[in-house]
Symmetry: C2
Subunit: 111 residues, 2 copies
C-alpha cells in the first residue's frame, strides 16, 4: 500500500505507457512488477511503486515515489534498471515526468 | 491524504494534462483544486483526488479514486463538473483513462 500526501517530502514519477498492441498489456504489467521487485526496491531512495492497468487495455501507469530527484536520476543510470526499461519501451510509447503533490483530498466517509 | 492498494475496490482516474503554455501551470492546478472542492467531493462515489504539478512545468496530473466506473461516468454528466472540465481543457491537452491497481509495493523503511 502507498500513501500520497503533500506533506511527504517526495518526488513522484507518473509514467504513462501507451501500448503499441493492447494484447501485450499483461506482459508490460509483468515487466514492471519484475523491475520493481528485482531492481527498484533495492535502490537508495526508493519509496513505493504502484502499477495500474487501464480498463480499456490501452495503457499502463506506474505511479512511483522516490525520496528525491537525485535518487531517481541515479536509478536511471543503473544497468539493471536499464535492461527492464528497454523491455518496457519495446512494448509501449512512454511518457515519464516527475511531479510534486500540491493538493490531496480524501473523502471522510466512503459508502 | 490518499491511500493506494490493490485490495481497495476502486477505479482510479489518471488524468494527464499537457499544458498548451507552461506559464499556466498554477492556473490549471487552481482550476482542478476548485473543481474538487466545489463539485467532485460532493458527488456520490467520490473517494479522493490528488493534484500533481510536474517539476518541469509542462504537465499536471489528477490522480483520482472513485467507488466505481458508473459513479465516475455519472460525474461526467453533471453540468457543474462540465463547467470546470471545460476550463481545464482550454489550458491543456487532456488524456484521461480509468485504471485498476494491479500491484503496489511500499518500502518498509525509508531513510
Amino acid at each position: 500500500m502507498a500513501t500520497i500526501a503533500p506533506s511527504r517530502p517526495l518526488v513522484t514519477l507518473v509514467n504513462v505507457f501507451r501500448l503499441h498492441d493492447p494484447t501485450n498489456q499483461q506482459q508490460l504489467v509483468d515487466v514492471l512488477i519484475e523491475a520493481t521487485q528485482a531492481v527498484m526496491r533495492h535502490l537508495p531512495g526508493y519509496v513505493s511503486a504502484t502499477i495500474h492497468r487501464s480498463l480499456d487495455g490501452s495503457h499502463v501507469v506506474n505511479y512511483a515515489q522516490w525520496r528525491s530527484q537525485a535518487d531517481f536520476e541515479a536509478m536511471l543510470q543503473q544497468p539493471e534498471a536499464q535492461v527492464h526499461m528497454r523491455r518496457a519501451f519495446e512494448l509501449a510509447q512512454v511518457e515519464p515526468h516527475l511531479y510534486e503533490v500540491v493538493f490531496s483530498d480524501d473523502a471522510v466517509a466512503v459508502a
